[in-house]
């Protein structure tokens, strides 16, 4: 089984016709989740799949969905990391209401598209960090239109 720790593999595995399981961090903590988001950003941009952005959706100290920017490889301007993570979390959890879930993402603040997507998905809180998993900023609940 390909783990997602070192290799970025799509959530859906066409060989086994299943969703690839997410490898959980050994010690679940906000720092570990943010480190994973930053790692996804680094791995995705290193493979030229898009700009360096990564995102992790978490509930009960468990990663429910991961995403990274795939705008270049998909030729899709809407394939931002946060959108990909929300889609994957919804596919895995088989629900479109993510109330009770939080989002860890890198960068200053999600773009208005991603923040409104988090609003529609009813994500509880957004945590961001620019480059270090030790400096996490709580952005609160997502706002409609980023306002």
């Amino acid at each position: 089984m390909l783990t997602r720790r070192r290799f970025l593999v799509p959530a859906f595995d066409p060989v086994t016709d299943r969703l690839t399981p997410i490898e959980q961090p050994e010690t679940p903590s906000p720092r570990a989740f943010m480190a994973r988001a930053l790692e996804l950003a680094r791995l995705g941009s290193r493979r030229n799949e898009g700009t360096p952005y990564g995102c992790v959706i978490v509930k009960d100290n468990r990663i429910a969905g991961e995403g990274w920017n795939r705008a270049s490889v998909r030729h899709d301007a809407t394939a931002h990391a946060e959108i990909e993570a929300i889609q994957e979390a919804c596919r895995r959890e088989q629900r479109r209401d993510l109330a009770g879930y939080v989002m860890y993402t890198n960068g200053g603040r999600p773009c208005p598209m991603c923040e409104t997507a988090a609003y529609w998905a009813r994500i509880d809180r957004i945590f961001t960090a620019v480059s270090s998993p030790d400096e996490i900023t709580d952005r609160g609940a997502p706002k409609y239109g980023g306002c």
């Binding site: 030729h75 899709d76 809407t78 919804c90 993510l98 409104t116 529609w120 239109g145 306002c147």
Partner: protein, 172 residues
């Protein structure tokens, strides 16, 4: 005493080298020119297996708006939220979609976002500059920012294709 053989030899050699270079250069140029055709077949990443979109009889804003309304009706017939969207460039529909929020269990699958993804699959380009997006309703901030990222030039909505302003990333 002058030896004419050396410069002559040099000239012959130079000419030969130049001819070889020209020949190979011509081949290289031909190969390089054919590379995009060989590996891309037109547009990189465009999915040619998708069935083409049926174009309306006349290419007018009303006709495109009517198609967006058709997409909205398709969405509500499949039990989804009643929204539809169409993306038009150079008088041709290049992407269209109904809302698939309920069907795909995806809160980001608004009609406008799905239309942008349809364009991404069909056209294979991240940016469609100068395209117009027709929605059955005004776009929400998520879809408007998505249209902004995709380089859409104008947003129109409703049966009368009202609006026409460029999408904005942030409204505040």
């Amino acid at each position: 005493m002058t030896d004419h053989s050396l410069p002559q030899h040099g000239l012959v050699r130079k000419t030969l080298v130049r001819r070889t270079f020209l020949r190979w250069g011509g081949r290289m140029a031909g190969t390089l020119a054919a590379l995009p055709l060989l590996f891309r077949g037109g547009q990189a990443g465009a999915d040619r297996s998708m069935p083409p979109i049926e174009q309306p009889a006349e290419a007018t804003p009303r006709a495109f708006a009517a198609r967006a309304i058709e997409m909205r009706d398709l969405a509500s017939h499949t039990g989804d939220q009643g929204y539809g969207a169409v993306i038009v460039k150079d008088g041709k529909i290049i992407g269209q979609a109904p809302s698939r929020v309920v069907l795909h269990n995806d809160p980001t699958a608004h009609a406008e976002m799905e239309a942008l993804r349809d364009v991404a699959r069909r056209v294979g380009r991240e940016n469609v500059r100068g395209a117009v997006m027709y929605g059955s309703s005004p776009a929400c901030p998520m879809c408007e920012a998505g249209a902004y990222w995709a380089g859409i030039g104008a947003l129109r909505h409703g049966r009368a294709a009202a609006g026409g302003a460029a999408p904005r990333l942030r409204k505040c």
